[in-house]
Structures are given as structure tokens and as C-alpha cells.
Symmetry: C2
Subunit: 83 residues, 2 copies
Amino acid sequence: MRFRILVRVMPRAGLLDPEGQAVERALVELGFREAGEARVGRAIELTIEAGSAEDAGRQAQSMCERLLANPVTEDFSLEVIAA
Amino acid sequence: MRFRILVRVMPRAGLLDPEGQAVERALVELGFREAGEARVGRAIELTIEAGSAEDAGRQAQSMCERLLANPVTEDFSLEVIAA
């Protein structure tokens, strides 16, 4: 079975995020004065062949730990969708 | 009310995505031979003060159209979460 994996990799809370600060400043300058606490990370999508959604999720978790996210500075979250 | 907005900005289907290709190649080299069709975009999170979830969603849509996504090369999707 094919599964589509949606990954979010975000800078860990408390760590400096200059890109997020730049986005926040630009939003306020555009007139979105209600915007705050902006953080910018990476969104990754990929397809996995796996026997079950659980197996696909395990593989995706391992991909994040080994390649997609930096374990020192980033947190990730996963979504598994039957494709 | 405060809302947390989760935005995904992805390269439009059909457009070249060298970062996605690099991720896919690296995953296969790490032994994840079942991985394919990788795409890499940006994940953005921010907080909005708004009167309702609909209003927060409208503001976030406008932020994406005016700043967060490139309307020629990228697609975005939004999630609004009561904070």
C-alpha cells in the first residue's frame, strides 16, 4: 500500500529563529498587527510503500530521526495519509 | 481570542524541486528504498488575535497571498487551531 507522509520540522521552542522574526516583522509592517510568535521550519512530503499505516509511520519516524530533522535543534511531527 | 495558524507552503506540482530530489536521493542511499516523490517546502506557524476562527482563517489566507507564499510557484494550505 502507498502512503503519503506529511512532515513538519520546526525550530525547537526557545531557540532563536531569525527567519520567523523576519516574517513576523514583515507581517506587522503589512498591517497584520494581530500576528505574533511566528516560527519558520520545513514542510516535507513523500510517498512510502508499506504494509500498513503503522509501518509507514514507523519508517517515517526513522527518516526524520536519521535525516529530515536535526535532533539537537528541531522538533518534528508526522501525518500518515493513505494514498 | 487567540488562534494558532499552521501553514504549509509547497512548490507547485510539476515545478522542479531540487531540494526534494536531494532528500529523496539521500533517503534511498540510507536504505529507505520505499521512499519516493519527496517535496520540500516551508512550514510556518504564527499566532493571530481574531474574533472567530473564520476571521483568523481569512487573515491567514491574506497573509499567505501577500507574503508567505509565492503565488506563481507555490501552493499553500492552512490549519486554524484555537490557542
